[in-house]
Symmetry: C2
Subunit: 364 residues, 2 copies
């Protein structure tokens, strides 16, 4: 660890809570495991509540008279439909339609947006676009560090701590809470399917206090420290930029065609490319793969998904599901083979060939 890989406002607390390892996202630490196993964490997340340091979801703040122009130029989704208080999932694509990132956009004002990003320097991309086109915007990374509270008991915990008004915040909307004489943004969102909130803490100096407040209030709800859970994420059909999709993939291939306006009514980078794909259809798309042969190893390189001698996809994330009693994975699958029930074999990196089938996402 060096300064280059940035600590977060919560890292001290995460270490005190017994973190066993970190990953790196956006040049910042993301906790990867605590003392519980990933299976124990999975069950806990489904039944109770967890506190996650997701500061690595950095905010790219775009403000100024041309802010909406710049954000719209970066995404095929029509952001004019967003109202202040909305969270919009917006694919960001290059001129060929390839995915550059898939942030959640928070509309703070008509001329102020946060893009809560996956792992690539959207800040530099937005700066480049703005400088190149001479737009009247300011692009910056504010001192904002999201803390996620995930799981079915998250609402009760946070309502007790910050007030019942947070119960009225709907999914992918945000509101505000008072904390230590500051006003903080809270959204009903998060990288799990178990419900919960993300507090976009502004002011690193408040990190310890916020962690401690949530932790204390969480004692009555059986809170544990956690992090995005691979089993839950795969089952839930939540994709990860860099894993399931890269710049090699378009929004259509990851099931996000519904966010792409291709009727010519709005302009954005990559529009011609997306229109061409919309006309012809995609040749591959993300799917689940359920496969047997006992718990699979860790997937650190893509595993070929085969139909006979033909490779029809590659599993980019895979793990044993203790609930389904099968391995679960996510894979791009070629068009001729992507129907649910298609029999495949999975060639995991331990050399074992495992029988499996294509399934819809999310897993049942």
């Amino acid at each position: 660890m060096s300064r280059r890989i940035r600590r977060t406002p919560y890292t001290d607390r995460v270490e005190q809570a017994g973190v066993r390892g970190f990953s790196v996202v956006n040049h910042m630490l993301l906790p990867k495991a605590f003392q519980a196993t990933v299976e124990e964490d999975y069950w806990h997340l489904r039944e109770h509540v967890q506190i996650w340091d997701v500061s690595c979801q950095r905010q790219v703040q775009i403000t100024g008279p041309d802010a909406a122009v710049l954000v719209q130029w970066m995404t095929p989704r029509n952001i004019a439909k967003a109202r202040v208080g909305d969270c919009f999932y917006i694919p960001i694509i290059d001129a060929q339609g390839g995915m550059i990132n898939d942030p959640v956009m928070l509309k703070l004002a008509e001329d102020r947006f946060w893009l809560s990003i996956a792992d690539s320097d959207v800040l530099l991309y937005a700066m480049g676009l703005a400088l190149g086109r001479g737009l009247h915007v300011e692009v910056s990374e504010p001192d904002v560090s999201p803390l996620a509270v995930q799981g079915p008991k998250a609402e009760d915990l946070l309502a007790g701590l910050f007030g019942d008004h947070i119960r009225n915040i709907r999914f992918f909307k945000f509101g505000w809470i008072d904390f230590n004489n500051t006003r903080q943004l809270i959204a009903r969102s998060g990288y799990s399917r178990q419900g919960g909130f993300e507090i976009y803490l502004q002011g690193s100096h408040l990190g310890h206090a916020l962690w401690d407040a949530v932790w204390e209030a969480g004692q009555a709800h059986n809170i544990t420290p956690g992090c995005p859970n691979l089993i839950e994420r795969i089952e839930g059909g939540l994709l990860s930029y860099g894993n399931e999709f890269t710049r090699e993939n378009t929004p259509f291939e990851i099931g996000h065609g519904k966010f792409c306006v291709t009727d010519g009514s709005i302009d954005y980078i990559g529009r011609a490319a997306l229109q061409a794909i919309a006309a012809t259809g995609v040749t591959r798309e993300i799917r689940g793969v359920a496969f047997d042969g006992g718990p699979c190893p860790t997937c650190s390189k893509p595993w070929p998904v085969m139909v006979g001698a033909r490779q029809v996809g590659q599993i980019t994330s895979g793990i044993w599901s203790p609930r389904l009693r099968r391995n679960v994975g996510q894979s791009m699958i070629d068009r001729d083979f992507w129907k649910a029930g298609q029999e495949v074999t999975v060639h995991s990196q331990d050399g074992v060939v495992r029988a499996g089938e294509v399934v819809a996402l999310p897993f049942a």
Copy 2:
């Protein structure tokens, strides 16, 4: 480890060679340690030769009629002075003069450049600038993975393997070698002060073969697997983006004013900001700090450098030097205190206060 953190063409070999840990640079694995200690590695690097997987130095390739226009726009250095075959160290700065990256530019042709980057997505920045301004360029990341051969015996090793013509390549120039019926770029460069070369392997499928060829030829020269060595780097005054400097710093503060044209003869992003700084002078600059108190701990957060009760800097990389029998560190130091010999105290994260002094870089 997941697919998001990319393996390199050499990772299999690195694992076989007993790597003990990785860091992450440009979304890619960088070996951090092998079986030897950092001190053993330090002595070995100074006396023999090492093979380093530095694939994470990704290339941003800029080609096309406006290639030189785009590269010049990104840096205050006059790139018109570069000839084909030159490696140029070029600061890349934002509109305020803050460092975005500090790549080595390789001029492959009048209309073709590689930027061999430190840890930030220059690819996205360059794409944004090109799209915004409508430049006629193609910006891409080619399949190029540098393999460094560093140490005083590197030249003999590589001359034996690829021919004596590589001896004629001067520092920060590149030439070509034949390897397995391919033509590969080789530069006299690298992230150490012990001499050596970097082979910019084009074609990931050749990774194992290249590693094996260098390894075999290296047996006669006492080769070991290695990686950038923290002791050697600090002593040598080699800075690390994200550690010693960030977007908070200008090229002047890291001693690279000599690369910045501020007379108005060329135009680039951030010119006005640099001209203003050139007129007034900088208020802090990078220095070495030598300090006592026995081997210091690992520096994972900045350590205040104090003169009495006043903080005059912060050590961002520090380690025990077995050769100098003192701790060595790098720190920005405020102008009034940056003269060599200035007495300071270093407040390392173990709570120990250590006496030290400001020294020039590189360390003697």
